[in-house]
Amino acid sequence: ALTKLHQWLLAGLALLTAWLLMLSGAVAPANPGLVWRHAAAFLPVYCALALGLASLITVVYRVLTFVDCPQAHAELVKEIETAKADLAKRGFTFTAAS
């Protein structure tokens, strides 16, 4: 199996080929105007910007929707008290600092 690095290199090669085809004019609309030529030339930059923006939005969204669980902490604190009492009853000696 290919490593992830190799997979990315292959994908990169495929994209590079596609882009070069666009630049050379081999892949182009019937009447390539200035807009097309500009877009084709800067396509990698636009793609990188778009991916960067999508990544940023994704991470920000995931931080904002991060699940806190204060109730888990509250329950744990209560359970610890129960545990200490029961362990003491069963003969466990906690040291002075506990």
């Binding site: 490593t3 992830k4 690095l5 991470v59 995931r62 931080v63 699940v67 669980c69 888990a72």
Partner: protein, 238 residues
């Protein structure tokens, strides 16, 4: 089926009895046959004395103390624990009460129902997951790191750096034998290699209570650099 819980400990004299009590409570209620293999790395705070007291209370069959002379690393702690474990399934979890034993019966059920080789707790996905005690900085780092890891490794597991997992014994043995990284990256490497070796992994949402009582959350610059280096190594070699 017998479940061995391998607990590497260092200075957990206060938490260990509480954890053992909770394990006994929840696994007892679910009728799960268990043993706890405590791999203590020469704690100076009396952790081993606490373990011996617990063995008297809960039976020497259930509380198995197998210490080591000093801190020798997590991977070797798991190997050491495996040598002394009698179970055909192994649970790895933190000893500081950040992982709650109540999720173990859920992991057991999940492994049965899905015939998984591994069931991992997920702090990030699923109904009932969550983390307590992380500030904004920690959340940003966690989400950012996770995003990068998902993008680069496409692991099929939502919580790559989690350490609360249930394994079939031979699966864990094989993974610990073949993984070489340290720290957070070790947990990631286990999951990535597991997928590589064709093991099936199920997930159970868990809550994680970060025990900030004992100092600040230990995630500084050097940990982040170590993480990135490990991530790139896995990216290039798997």
């Amino acid at each position: 089926a017998m479940y061995s819980i391998i607990l590497p400990t260092y200075n957990e004299r206060d938490n260990l009895p509480l954890l053992v009590w909770m394990i006994d409570k929840y696994l007892g209620a679910a009728n799960i046959q268990y043993e706890i293999v405590i791999v203590d790395d020469g704690s100076p705070d009396g952790t081993q004395e606490a373990a011996k007291q617990l063995a008297k209370i809960y039976s020497e069959d259930r509380i198995v103390l197998r210490p080591r002379p000093r801190k020798l690393g997590l991977g070797t702690a798991y190997l050491h624990g495996l040598k002394h474990a009698k179970g055909d399934h192994v649970i790895l979890m933190d000893a500081d009460l950040s992982h709650h034993p109540k999720f173990i019966p859920q992991m057991v059920a999940k492994m049965r129902s899905g015939s998984f080789d591994i069931v991992t707790g997920s702090r990030y996905e699923g109904e009932g997951c969550g983390v307590y005690g992380w500030d904004l900085r920690r959340k940003v780092i966690s989400r950012g790191a996770n995003f990068l890891a998902q993008l680069l490794l496409r692991p099929g597991v939502s919580d790559l750096t989690g350490s609360f997992r249930l394994y079939k014994r031979e699966v864990l043995q094989r993974l610990v034998d073949s993984c070489t990284s340290k720290g957070y990256v070790f947990q990631m490497e286990m999951m990535v290699r597991a997928r590589h070796l064709g093991y099936s992994i199920g997930e159970v949402p868990i809550t994680f209570v970060d025990r900030m009582f004992y100092g600040d959350s230990k995630l500084g610059g050097s940990e982040i650099v170590q993480y990135l280096k490990g991530l790139l190594t896995l990216f290039a070699t798997t």
